[in-house]
């Protein structure tokens, strides 16, 4: 009898078995299919960016510039940065996890504008294709920051094409942000009030605000660089009356908030993980929710902390420095609330939770070293050194990538209907954590020693620390490749995932795994607070437990 039921389950219509043709994917309006296509694209992109990272670490194994020509090395770190920042970190969590889960978490059928959602994927493909084409043609060597007048007047590389790709990609972000905001405003299921929203949704709401307000600025800025190169209009190049520092203002006005585009969604994931794997309501829900908004708003007012040594007046510097200190506070609030959530919980250590705990540790260090860089007198010594490199990798890899991986593991059974190997999951989470620290912690010391960033060669006394870093990078690389293997393996050989593998209250766990195309058989009515484990709120606990017992 039991067997018959299982078979019936398998043939149940879901978004994956709803059409197998290529067209059914390419012309889908289903946010879940779009998310899966993003997942595949972004994984490929991450692999390419990772190969460049390996190139950097190998070159830096020895003090001389020997593996690559210096010019090639400059392209390698530029490509690494451009690919990871613009094509991976910015879209990763929103476009994959956000796309897949926001409608389900708020009880909607889809995003507000399904066609626009598909359009943003195509825009992402187009932008990425142009960038990859430019890299293959010979690449760029400006650094991902495109500082003028080097980028406008001196670099002989594919700046315009790459800039065009980034410009186009920006629209993908803008449209995704717009879609999320409208969806969250208008498509919440009956009873899903703002303060019942999972914090993942709040985090994406804040992120979307930044995407919409900030991305146009960088798009225009990069366009101006291209115009300056082509038509010499005289905005950034001082020999024709421009101001190279103006570029830095425009660039960082976006690119500092962009840091929050990358980290806020990850913070949203972590809130989910910490709460659900402690089987307990999150501590200080409102404080976490509003701290996201505070970060999004204040994040627009601190860009000058990238320019303390570029001749900015001391008064401007003081304002930017104090605001930078203030913007750190909401992040601290989040860390404390996550920690407090564990108190009197029922903490389990499944793979996603390991990532979440790792995130807290690394993000803490990333955030605290941000204070070093925000303190003006300290910044003068540290800026443009490896200290900065270490700092933002702690935030971007320790923060964003760990959050992304944690979320991917957490929702994998929901997205694919398959269970991955817990054993390998834990191993890889630990390798990532150890490898990461070994790679980037020595770089703080290198930075204080004064090793400038973007150097192909360095003084021999700094070699030992660089060897640590490269060794760590190999461990990190293995830790990041493992999931590719066991996750793909699970698609074919993995056990079938139950609908609610962890017996959790969120809406996404109340539909089947994988969900049907319309997400829910009937529109859910929400009568409970987020993360409410107190009573099971209409969840048939016995049924779920029985189902779990069979896997």
């Amino acid at each position: 009898m039991e067997k018959v039921e299982v078979r019936a389950e398998q043939t149940k219509p879901n978004y994956l078995n709803n059409g197998y043709s290529v067209w059914s994917w390419l012309f889908t309006k289903d946010h879940k299919r779009i998310a899966i296509m993003y997942l595949i694209s972004i994984s490929v992109i991450f692999l390419i960016g990772g190969i460049y990272a390996a190139g950097i670490r190998l070159e830096l194994l020895t003090p001389q510039s020997d593996l690559f020509e210096t010019g090639t090395y400059n392209k390698v770190f530029t490509h690494h940065g451009i690919i990871m920042v613009f094509l991976f970190l910015i879209p990763a969590i929103p476009a994959v996890l956000g796309n897949f889960l926001i409608p389900i978490m708020i009880g909607a059928r889809d995003l507000a504008f399904p066609r626009i959602n598909l359009l943003s994927l195509y825009i992402y493909w187009l932008g990425s294709a142009i960038i990859l084409w430019a890299l293959l043609q010979g690449g760029v060597d400006t650094g991902w920051t495109f500082y003028t007048p080097y980028s406008t007047t001196f670099s002989n590389t594919y700046v315009v094409a790459t800039g065009l790709g980034i410009f186009i990609n920006g629209f993908s972000s803008i449209l995704t942000g717009l879609n999320f905001i409208v969806t969250i405003h208008t498509m919440r299921a009956p009873g899903m009030t703002w303060f019942r929203l999972p914090l993942f949704v709040w985090a994406h709401y804040a992120t979307s605000l930044v995407m919409i307000l900030g991305t146009p600025v960088v798009a225009i800025t990069i366009l101006l660089v291209a115009l300056e190169r082509i038509a010499r209009i005289g905005i950034f190049d001082p020999t024709i009356g421009g101001d190279p520092i103006l570029f830095q203002h425009l660039f960082w006005f976006y690119s500092h908030p962009a840091v929050y585009i990358m980290i806020l969604p990850s913070m949203g994931v972590i809130s989910e993980l910490i709460s659900n794997f402690s089987r307990k309501r999150i501590f200080g829900y409102e404080f976490i929710a509003f701290s996201s908004i505070a970060i999004a708003v204040f994040g627009f007012l601190v860009w000058g902390h990238h320019m303390f040594v570029s001749g900015q007046s001391i008064y401007a510097g003081l304002v930017f420095s104090i605001l930078t200190m203030i913007v750190a506070v909401p992040s601290a609030i989040k860390v404390f609330n996550w920690t407090a959530t564990l108190y009197k919980g029922q903490v389990s250590y499944d793979t996603p939770m390991l990532y979440a705990l790792g995130f807290i540790g690394l993000f803490l260090i990333g955030g605290l070293t941000g204070l070093f860089l925000g303190a003006m007198g300290m910044n003068v010594h540290l800026t443009d050194t490896y200290f900065v490199v270490a700092h933002f990798h702690y935030v971007m890899v320790g923060g964003t990538v760990l959050g992304y991986l944690g979320g991917l593991h957490y929702w994998w059974p929901k997205m694919t209907g398959k269970l991955y190997s817990e054993f390998w999951g834990k191993i890889s989470a630990m390798l990532v954590f150890i490898g990461f620290n070994l790679t980037f912690f020595p770089q703080f010391i290198l930075g204080y020693m004064g090793m400038p960033r973007r150097y192909a060669a360095y003084p021999p006394e700094l070699q030992v620390l660089n060897i640590f870093s490269t060794a760590g990078a190999s461990v990190l690389g293995v830790g990041l490749l493992l999931p590719v293997i066991y996750l793909v393996h699970s698609l074919v050989w993995g056990k079938k995932a139950p609908d609610n593998p962890w017996l959790l209250p969120g809406l996404e766990w109340r539909t089947s795994s994988p969900p049907p195309t319309e997400n829910f058989e009937q529109t859910p009515v929400v009568t409970w607070e987020a993360y409410d484990f107190s009573d099971e709120n209409g969840l048939d606990v016995e049924k779920v437990k029985k189902e779990l017992a069979t896997v």
Binding site: S65, T70, N74, D141, Y147, Y150, F154, S155, T239, D243, P244, S278, R279, R281, F283, G284, E286, F287, V309, G311, G317, S321, I322, M325, V329, A332, I333, F336, N337, T339, L342, Y343, K344, Q346, G361, L364, I365, L368, T369, L371, F372, G374, A375, M376, G377, M378, V380, H381, D384, I445, Y448, P452, R453, R454, Y455, Y458, E461, L465, F533, S534
Partner: protein, 321 residues
């Protein structure tokens, strides 16, 4: 040499400027604060995660929503601490920001991919900078092409060299020795080769070094030549106010009234702009007839002109020359 530390894993660069200790002190303060928070959070995570580990599958945790008292505490404490960090950073920065008046001035021109220095006595160096110990040194920097950044870790200071303007950086070296000099702002192909050494010398050694490198001309002398002969500035700018252009003696450091009503201080940047972009700031009472010299003078010649005009500061001295 004296410089290199023999540590297997070096942790700190040499400390060789008057404010290096301030930066290090701030660093230790920041490390202490970071350690404090890291220890608290990590200890709490381990303690909770072990003490409250799942006892039975699908048991739920306690019903706790939050605590206003705790939220206020852990908002207030980080906020207050961050303000102390801000203050510390601001003070250290302020001490480095305004160059002292009596500093010895050295001109620096960055260019792909070398550093060019010129001493007030005329000696030129490339990728090496010799300075006396315990003297305040002010670098007046610009770039011929892209943005560079002069960085001496042992002095704990750096500043961008930006094309089209002067920026300044000052330090007082406290310990004789040989220290790394880097370009810290990515500037293209040979960025990591745009490096060199700063030699800090006892006053006596410095004088010997100067004597061993006599130069034909000081920048001011070179500037005078340009001013009077090559560029023909003197045809308009004469010793008196009778000429078509204002007299330049005593200009440096003075307040200048412009036709647009603004008053500006005549510093190096102002003089530089007056030569490259005279139409941008017209002196009150004069016609906008001065031609631009943009594209006709190199950065070094500009430096020479600026130095010459500065040297006119003392009118009588310049008359007697």
């Amino acid at each position: 040499m004296i410089q290199q530390s023999n540590n297997w894993v070096p942790l700190f660069p040499e400390k060789a400027s008057s404010f290096a200790w301030q930066v290090d002190a701030l660093y230790f303060y920041l490390i202490a604060i970071s350690a404090f928070f890291t220890v608290i959070v990590v200890a709490a995570i381990f303690y909770f995660a072990i003490k409250y580990r799942e006892k039975e599958k699908f048991q739920n945790g306690a019903e706790i929503h939050g605590s206003l008292l705790l939220e206020t505490t852990w908002t207030a404490i980080p906020f207050l601490l961050s303000m102390t960090i801000f203050l510390g950073g601001a003070i250290v920065y302020y001490n480095q920001y305004r160059p002292p008046k009596d500093a010895m001035e050295i001109y620096v021109v960055g260019k792909q991919w070398m550093w060019k220095f010129q001493h007030p006595t005329g000696q030129r160096e490339i990728n090496e900078l010799h300075v006396p110990v315990n003297r305040r040194i002010k670098l007046i920097m610009t770039s011929e092409d892209v943005i560079h950044d002069l960085y001496v870790p042992a002095f704990r200071t750096k500043a961008d060299a930006v094309p089209g303007r002067y920026t300044t950086l000052w330090f007082e070296a406290t310990k004789p020795g040989k220290y790394h000099l880097y370009c810290a702002e990515y500037c293209g192909l040979n960025h990591s080769g745009m490096i060199g050494w700063v030699y800090v010398m006892e006053q006596k050694d410095y004088e010997n070094w100067l004597a061993g490198n006599v130069s034909s001309q000081t920048p001011a002398q070179a500037g005078r030549e340009l001013f009077e002969a090559k560029l023909g500035c003197a045809s308009c700018h004469q010793q008196t106010d009778q000429g078509r252009g204002p007299k330049l003696a005593g200009l440096f450091g003075k307040q200048v009234k412009l036709t647009n009503g603004q008053t500006v201080v005549a510093d190096e940047e102002y003089i530089r702009n007056s030569i490259l972009n005279p139409q941008g700031q017209i002196v009150e009472g004069y016609q906008p007839i001065m031609p631009t010299f943009k594209g006709q003078v190199t950065e070094e010649q500009l430096v020479a002109l600026v130095e010459y005009i500065k040297s006119l500061g003392n009118e009588t001295a310049s008359m007697s020359k």
